[in-house]
Symmetry: C2
Subunit: 490 residues, 2 copies
């Protein structure tokens, strides 16, 4: 790539002109998130300006958050999405006692192995992002080295102590000091949430949830004959504490379910201060809180956020997570730390399916022990950040100007909001006709809200096919908005 | 071993005398089930009788069911247990609307990996009986040859089509003509039963079950807030059809659950004629029937018995089974064919844990395709038959004369009945103190019946340790009965 400075003779200092030009290349998309910037020496040659000027230009870009330096490797484009557009607002309603209608969830989920569809709707990371060769090798080692009486027998309901030990060790990063005996291995986070909810409720009970929330949580509530109370939730700060306290005060609530870190679908992350307040609140009211932390380790910057469980002093938090977004969804390994409900959840696990398959458990344990988990996690976070950036940029480039979009600081999920009359169910059908799968907003609320919203997932590495699909989606959105205006006027 | 004929000069023909002597050696336990009989030539030398006489003696023993011939290999002891003692009677009560109390089940199940305990209580086959080297090798092949995007991704809720195809093929032996799309893969039979029951009931409903029945079924009913109606069940012929019909007529029944083949714990096997009647009956009343066939392939003689599903014309039977008693409980692979409830069960599977782990599914599929399944099954049936025989013989040798014992024609479970005052919970505690785990009868009934019964399982290859444990158990039983007599006499 050749870089030139079209306008050397203006008033700006030279390093500012260099920075301006590079910023322009990034805005136009010539330089994409994740791309390496030209080396200092190369730019020095091309632009005939001094090395110190170029270094100064890069320093400015880094300060402004456009690029980041990697040691020994140079400068990389960080985020071209400059968030000039609005974020969605906090959902305003506190909707009590919703019965759960069976949603689109099954249709969307069950389509995920349809090879003709481009999946921008389900929260499934590309297998290309996972250390599959290492996992397969470790699985071979497990089958060769472990006793057949261990790996081919029924496990105890709580699962492999080896794995529980490794998970307890990792959970220290989330601020949790747990004993392996406080953990129960499950078939993914979903089963963990299911078991915990079953342990703390009776049919007919009401459960407080974020709005919008993970669509399969609504299916679980439905299967367990529970009602939902939707709490207003902000795309940056998460569930409204005022609303939560009001719900606990004024409604008969049996339990809460929250996704505090890189919430699905909003991307919100609750601050430590608010997590502490939530833990205090539910302890005060003696209300069990089920915490879904499946995206907690996928932070883009700094340290992984703490879990609410870290602030739980009396065992009212039932913590749930898994390896499905980090190592392999296909191995179906998750866990929960159900606090004061430990025995009840263990009994329910036995009742449901006796125990979790052993070899997948020991394979994950082996990877956590010596598979280079931290190195893998660093790379995965970079990839997800990049994919979220690219997707955001594509929304900016192709979607109607009215489109609002979230700005998650972790995970790989985006939430889009269109003008009120917009119908994402129509978009969903139109997109399917073009072999593109998205998740319409109504899936994320038991009350049928969010018809003008949709969830886009960024689990796939960026590709021309996705770029093209985003162009198609943007065009379909624009066409629908145009139809809405014509209808109104005519 | 030296065989002699102490009494050559009696009235019996010589071949009868030879047969008598061998029968005596088997009754006394010198020759044990599974032992090879002395070769024809060896006996000819030892007894100084003609080869044709010895062949005739062996033919007589075979006709009488004492030995069986294996081609190229000789004669083997078949069954020493001559069933001189009574079987338990059909349970007489039809007990309606029992709420389910949480039972001993968890305590017994969760102890199964305790290496200090000899497990005669849980229905767990020894891993030594499974083709584990072949399974591990096939698992390696699966991880090498299948696409990572298949084996490490979320599966569709119904599970691998490859496995469903193989299972459908095997189910032809049970008289079922099923399409792979009519099957759903689950984490073992327990999960299959759980999902099917959840699909056809609402909290508060009543479910008709056999009495006694599989203890974890009672836990499932409890978790789903269901009540039980216990149907009288005979240790040979299974559930009473009269009682079933009366229950459907006179009670509000939401569903039935039956274990028709080699019932757990009674060992009963329903005849084809009665299976046909049951299918007709539930179709007539539009009542879904959940069929647990997990022991169906473990017949000792002839062909494996048919499933009730084979007689289901309108999709009211929800068939459930697994590989946990045949190939590997630790892989957690089961399935159901839920008939008219297919979509509902598939949705509930997604709700519960999205899908089953992929590599275990494909490993089982590979074994069913080319692992020598039929050969393995033949050997396994012989082993279980032998272990059941030895256990029966040990009961005869060491337990009180009043002990009644079932005579299953498949599976590996025995049910013992003692005089009415006997308390198997006491025996359970006393046995645990001797590091022996048994299953007290009360675990198998929601109404706390069968306190004078217990289940013994024969999943472990016979060993001096088991012989000794059976001696201990027998002694504990005799002591309790003696105490009861003393108490009665004052």
């Amino acid at each position: 790539m050749n870089v030139d400075l079209p306008n050397k003779n203006n008033d700006h200092p030279l390093y500012q002109q260099v920075a301006d030009r590079l910023r322009q290349l990034m805005t136009e998309g010539t330089l994409q998130p994740g791309d390496r910037l030209p080396s200092v020496r190369k730019l020095h040659d091309q632009l005939s300006v001094s090395i110190s000027t170029i270094l100064e230009a890069y320093r400015v870009l880094e300060d402004q958050g456009w690029v980041h330096a990697r040691s020994q490797s140079g400068y990389y484009v960080k985020s071209v999405a400059t968030h000039t557009r609005a974020e969605p607002q906090q959902s305003t309603q506190l909707i009590p006692d919703q019965p759960i209608a069976v949603s689109l969830a099954y249709r969307v989920y069950a389509s995920k192995r349809d090879p003709s569809l481009l999946q921008l709707g389900t929260a499934v990371p590309s297998p290309d992002l996972f250390p599959l060769a290492a996992l397969n090798r470790l699985m071979g080692q497990v089958t060769r080295s472990e006793a057949p009486s261990i790996i081919h027998s029924y496990d105890v309901p709580a699962g492999s102590l080896k794995l529980r030990h490794e998970v307890a060790r990792r959970l220290m990063d989330a601020g949790c000091a747990l004993n392996p005996n406080e953990l129960i291995i499950t078939n993914g986070t979903t089963e963990a949430i299911y078991l915990c909810l079953q342990a703390v409720t009776q049919p007919g009970d009401t459960v407080a949830i974020e709005s919008p929330t993970y669509y399969n949580l609504l299916e679980i509530l439905n299967a367990l004959h529970l009602k939902a109370l939707e709490l207003p939730t902000h795309p940056q700060t998460g569930v409204s504490l005022t609303a939560l306290e009001s719900a606990l005060q004024n409604h008969q609530i049996a339990a809460c379910v929250l996704i505090p870190n890189f919430n699905n679908p909003l991307g919100s992350c609750i601050s430590d201060e608010n997590k502490r307040s939530i833990a205090k609140l539910i302890t005060q009211y003696n209300i069990p809180l089920i915490e879904d932390d499946v995206y907690g380790e996928l932070n883009f910057e700094g340290n992984r956020p703490k879990a609410i469980k870290a602030f739980d002093t009396e065992g009212w938090v039932l913590y749930c997570s898994s390896m499905s977004k980090i190592l392999s969804p296909g191995l179906r390994i998750g866990w929960c730390a159900p606090g004061r409900y430990q025995l009840k959840v263990e009994q329910l696990k036995m009742t449901m399916n006796l125990s979790t398959a052993v070899i997948p458990q020991l394979t994950i344990a082996a990877f956590l022990t010596n598979g280079g988990y931290d190195r893998h996690l660093r790379q995965l976070r970079r990839n997800f950040e990049m994919q979220v950036d690219r997707m955001t940029q594509a929304v900016y480039a192709h979607f109607p100007a009215e489109t609002k979009i979230t700005r998650p600081k972790g995970g790989f999920i985006l939430w889009l909001e269109f003008p009120e009359q917009f119908d994402s169910l129509v978009l969903h059908e139109e997109a399917l006709a073009q072999d593109i799968q998205i998740s319409p907003g109504v899936m994320f609320s038991p009350s049928g809200n969010y018809r003008n919203c949709l969830r886009l997932t960024c689990g796939l590495p960026w590709s021309p096919k996705i770029e093209q699909a985003m162009e198609t989606l943007g065009r379909l959105c624009k066409l629908q908005l145009a139809r809405l205006i014509l209808d109104r006027e005519g």
